[in-house]
Amino acid sequence: MGNSKESIPSYSGQRGQEMKTYRAYQNNHKTIVIVSGLPRSGTSMLMQMLEDSGLEVLTDNYRKPDRDNPNGYYEYEPVKSIKDDHRWLAKAEGKAVKMVSQFLFYLPSDRKYKIIFMNRDLREIIASQNKMLERLNPSHNSVSDKTMMRIFQKHIKVIRDWLYKQKNCDVLYLNYKDFIQKPMECAELLKEFLKDVVTLDPVKAAKTCSLKLYRQRYSIPNDKSKVV
């Protein structure tokens, strides 16, 4: 981060002009806030919190609210095409957009991102998914939980390693369970993380957290949450 602080190499003539234009493009481009994580990790809830507390969100309401997400999914359909077309990112400047973690690899490197990555107990994610699938397809045979767990764990490790190496990404990892149990603390963390982008109202953000969404919670003695 901090491309604006790097010194501009002293190219002359047309090349120098090109470099200056490119730097100005990077500096003048507003940061994009990305809400990410695995599916069913609480990203929709986080999007709603950000919207309610003062950050504009980019969404097209293509997927309507339902029983699994009564307040809506906060998705933006062009996100799914990011590997072929990322022109829509211009609309996301200064706003928050939701992106499942598998698409993060396709973020172009000529922009700046603040990524809020939601961690959630993988057992809860899988259970939430299975519940949704049972509702949509009662005869659904669930995919082996062990298989899903293994694939998710592998993915989380790889995406974390990858994010660590991205100089144009600031990343804040938050735990879903903390949002439910300590919403004000999480809201303050969000406010601090996003202070260069927007002034968030943490009180409004905390209010949005709804304990009703936490349907698939496991009771774990001594809070030994296996969050990856």
Partner: protein, 423 residues
């Protein structure tokens, strides 16, 4: 003599594999990408498995090997038949150099199995396991483990989950079989083709594309399993052995299916008689041309077809208008067909006479169909979400001087020559 190992992954796109490498889902393959040459590979036209695997195994274009699709017409009729291994007009590589010993497992278009120096188990479209195996002594064990040459794709129409379970079952039997042959046969060239990939991609490509659970994870799970086998094979290879990996085509998302014969009917190139069940026999002598799956156009020549209406001398009166009409086909203002090629532009060889007269090159997302009697040209009610894409097959070569052996713009026909240069 240096050993060569070939691993085919039917329908695996280069771009998808690159994504899976990046996302850490195929670590064994990723290691090979670092050590070898990994690039895009072009499939022939049309880009279906029958044509492409025929080119891979013979090292020739369809104008020489004579297979132009999964289906063809019995000469002088409008009756559909399914070309098989006996229709190949060129020798596959394992019959070109018979001093070597070969194990060929699950290669499409090798049914019915023929004698070779080694052993062969046919891949799809194998109709009868009893005729899919050489030597026949392998049959007993295959039947004991309930080996199958293909997935039951009918299950996908009932439930994706049922289909996926069948996919994994067939895969496990395939793995059992190839590993046993690997250990028990003294081979010089070993080839295994994983075909579940193509089956899966046709039905759940959209889930992969959109990262939609749970089938996105199922998709990854299959390729994890393929990667495990890649790891096993590499671990058990001799250090100086060479490895070639390939697919026969890539895959793209279907926007809509396109019924070419319906369009040809609307534009006056086909006239069909009516019957309860429509098929190619409904083509009348007023028809100038018709389409065969997936992208082939045949001129309805007199003397070639029972109701042929176009004399060979008049072909240049028909072809330019046909090309023009096909290129005009649009959906919501978007052109559906990128180009239309004459057979002479695409093929060379002794089989040009039987080749389709024109080849349609579709726009990304438009899956061409050759059905007769469909009401609408465009139809997106299909359960399928993946269509073949010939420009995105993959090639990986690991061996001595691989960099200088692999052509810059590699085609599937180059694989036989790559093999001989790796020896």
């Amino acid at each position: 003599m240096k050993k060569i190992v070939l691993i085919g992954i039917d329908g695996a796109p280069y771009t998808m594999l690159a994504e899976l490498v990046k996302s850490g889902m195929m670590p064994n393959f990723a290691e090979l990408v670092k050590l070898g040459v990994f690039k895009q590979l072009s499939a022939p036209i049309p880009d279906n498995s029958a044509v492409s695997w025929s080119s891979i195994m013979t090292g020739e274009n369809p104008g020489l090997h004579g297979v132009f699709g999964f289906t063809d017409l019995i000469p002088n009729t409008y009756t559909i038949r399914f070309p098989n291994f006996h229709d190949l007009k060129c020798q596959p590589f394992w019959l070109q150099k018979q001093e070597k010993k070969y194990v060929i497992l699950n290669m499409p278009m090798t049914y019915p199995a023929k004698k070779l120096n080694g052993c062969l188990i046919s891949g799809f479209l194998a109709a009868d396991l009893n005729r899919s195996v050489f030597p026949s002594s392998l049959l007993k064990e295959l039947k004991e483990i309930d080996y199958r040459t293909d997935v039951d794709t009918g299950k996908a129409y009932k439930s994706k989950e049922l289909f996926f379970e069948d996919l994994l079952t067939v895969h496990e039997k395939r793995v059992q079989t190839y590993r046993k042959l690997w250990k028990n046969v003294k081979w010089d060239v070993f080839m295994i083709v994983f075909t579940g990939s193509d089956r899966m991609e046709h039905f759940i490509w959209a889930d992969f594309d959109d990262k939609e659970e749970p089938f996105y994870s199922r998709f990854l799970q299959y390729f994890e399993k393929v990667d495990e086998e890649i790891g096993w094979i590499v671990e058990h290879m001799n250090r100086d052995s060479s490895l070639i990996m390939m697919s026969d085509h890539g895959m793209k998302r279907i926007k809509t299916e396109v019924h070419l014969n319906t369009y040809l009917e609307q534009t006056g190139f086909i006239k069909l008689s009516k019957s309860e069940k429509m098929n190619y026999a409904n083509i009348t002598s007023e028809s100038k041309a018709f389409a065969l799956e997936p992208t082939r156009i045949h001129i309805n020549y007199k003397g070639k077809y029972p109701n042929g209406g176009v004399s060979f001398e008049d072909r240049e009166k028909v072809i330019p208008d046909l090309i023009s009409a096909l290129k005009e086909l649009k959906l919501d203002g978007e052109k559906v067909i990128v180009d239309v090629k004459r057979k002479e532009e695409v093929y060379t060889g002794t089989e040009l006479e039987t080749a389709p007269d024109l080849l349609v090159l579709p726009q990304n997302g438009y899956s061409m169909r050759g059905d007769i009697g469909k009401e609408r040209v465009f139809d997106n009610e299909t359960i399928l979400s993946g269509m073949h894409w010939g420009e995105d097959a993959f090639l990986l070569v690991k061996g001595e001087n691989a960099n200088s052996i692999v052509p810059e713009h590699a085609k599937v026909e180059d694989i036989v020559q790559i093999m001989s240069r790796l020896e």
